[in-house]
Amino acid sequence: MDVKYSTGRIGRIVTWVLLIACSLAFLYPLAWLVAASLKGRGQVFDNALVPTEVHWDNFATVFTELPLLSWLGNSLAIAVLAAVAVAVSSSMVAFGFAYFRFRGRNALFGLVLATMMLPGAVTMVPVYLIWRELGLLGTWAPLWAANLFGSAFYIFLQRQFFLGLPRELFEAARIDGAGYWRLFTRIAMPLAVPSFVIVLLFEFQASWNNFQSALIYLNSESVEDFTAPLGIAYAMTRYSPTAGGQGDYQYVMVASLLITLPMLALFAFGQRYFVEGVATTGTKG
């Protein structure tokens, strides 16, 4: 699928050289991160990509230095809850929009899509007040439970998929006496697994990376209860010399590496889904 311009031999060499140079530039910060995570105190700034002395013990010490295990556990639990909640609820709403024909459907769907345009900042304050009213500040609920109501982008994605299924499939099942719930669980969902996986992966990543919500909702006094991103932000400040720390940035780097690796693993597993998902948002959005 290569797009050919006037690609002579020289053009091709230039292309490859540029690509390799760009890749090295893009990889450098990650390579630097791996190296820094293996360095001793004060050696982070020597910027060597191969540490002069390798401190494997950083990866053990970090867990006593910081409650990293509990941060990672919190993040994992919240991300799983968030991803499953949003994938299931969005699929149900999307199926409703795709299968049922009712008055005002398009207007209602337009309204759902319109919420995608809404900047998160606009609803940030009132949503905070809702959680406060419910007495759930400082708990995990604000970090995932809103996902039980679905999310516009995923509803859109799933609906597109459901619309692609032949309607005769459902008509036939109806004649055989299947109820709507059966249509959804036995026919629509098994066929929609690919887009369901996209939703799961996207939301898992979004939740795992989410810093702002954790900052707003989690109690800043109880460090143990932080998610990993909030914990790393806390660690950055704690080790900072300006805040009285010793500059033990190697621990921040270990923690950063440990929250990045699961994302890279997720990507390795679902690269096809990620790239397709992102490309879909662009060409169909």
């Binding site: 709403v93 209602l108 759902v112 919420t115 900047p119 304050v125 109501f149 707003i216 300006t242 940035y249």
Partner: protein, 279 residues
């Protein structure tokens, strides 16, 4: 449909809040009419943060578009080998923002950071990236560029959809690479260009994590005014000062600004975007 109730309700509440002086610290709220908006106009930090954000958006969006399109065109050229490079370019996109911020916080250190050390090696004295007010926004742009591959993938998909015959015809007509780019490639991928521009602009206006993590995380030291992004100031008003009414008013102003800018982009876009190639 609880989802709609949740969002619509939140919007309505946000609208009502903007006209009240609700403060969490005192727990009191009363109707103050447009007072919040008047205070907002008078507050120099609102203007400053809006200016910072606008400046950042104007700097970041075109650069992100250019870099993403450049990389996508390189990838489109190599054909089969593109997969591995696409994966490499995508890794930064998978890196959580907190990790990105932590890495660049150290890489961009003015005296010991790797970037300035590298520059020194080739005889250039690098700037104090995270201290010098003039270099704060370019620093954040650099972080955005590092994670530009989401945009790149969209361009790549669009480039692959350009019919090859068009290039063959152009080659027969003897068109040079520059003419091919301006007269074929760009018009054919204009829907993707349009989409990316809008999405990146909206994201730029809501920049929060990078600025907060680099400059506002440590509350014991003052942050330079140049790093005060609109979303950061909004956050501070809401969750540090607990002026929720004021913050809601700020949020509405942001919403209106984003809507206006998007509307302008759509109008301009409608004139240039070419949808024919899709069918």
């Amino acid at each position: 449909m609880g989802f709609l109730v949740f969002t619509a309700g939140a919007m309505a509440a946000s609208g009502a809040l903007a006209f009240s002086d609700f403060n969490l610290a005192t727990g009191r709220a009363s109707w103050v009419g447009t007072e919040n908006f008047a205070r907002l106009v008078e507050d120099p930090r609102v203007a400053r943060s809006l200016g910072n954000t606008l400046f950042y958006a104007v700097l970041a969006v075109p650069l992100e578009i250019a870099v993403a399109l450049g990389l996508a065109m390189l990838l489109a050229r190599v054909g089969r080998g593109a997969g591995i490079f696409r994966t490499l370019f995508f890794l930064p996109k998978m890196t959580p923002m907190v990790a990105t911020a932590a890495i660049f916080f150290l890489l961009l250190n003015g005296s010991n950071g790797a970037i300035n050390q590298g520059l020194r090696a080739i005889g250039v004295q690098g700037p104090q990236w995270l201290v010098d007010p003039d270099w704060i926004k370019p620093s954040i742009v650099l972080m955005s560029l590092w994670a530009v591959s989401g945009t790149m993938v969209i361009f790549l998909a669009a480039l692959k959809n350009v019919p090859r015959e068009l290039y063959e015809v152009a080659a027969l007509d003897g068109a040079g690479p520059r003419r091919v780019f301006w007269n074929i490639t760009l018009p054919m991928i204009s829907p993707a260009l349009f989409f990316n521009t809008i999405v990146l602009t909206i994201a730029a206006f809501q920049t929060f994590d990078q600025a907060y993590l680099l400059f506002y995380r440590d509350q014991s030291s003052a942050a330079p005014e140049s790093s005060l992004f609109y979303a950061v100031y909004l956050f501070q008003q809401a969750f540090r000062q607990f002026n929720l009414g004021f913050a809601a008013a700020m949020a509405w102003v942001l919403f209106v600004i984003i809507m206006i800018i998007t509307a302008i982009q759509v109008r301009v876009g409608n004139r240039f975007v070419h949808y024919g190639g899709r069918d």
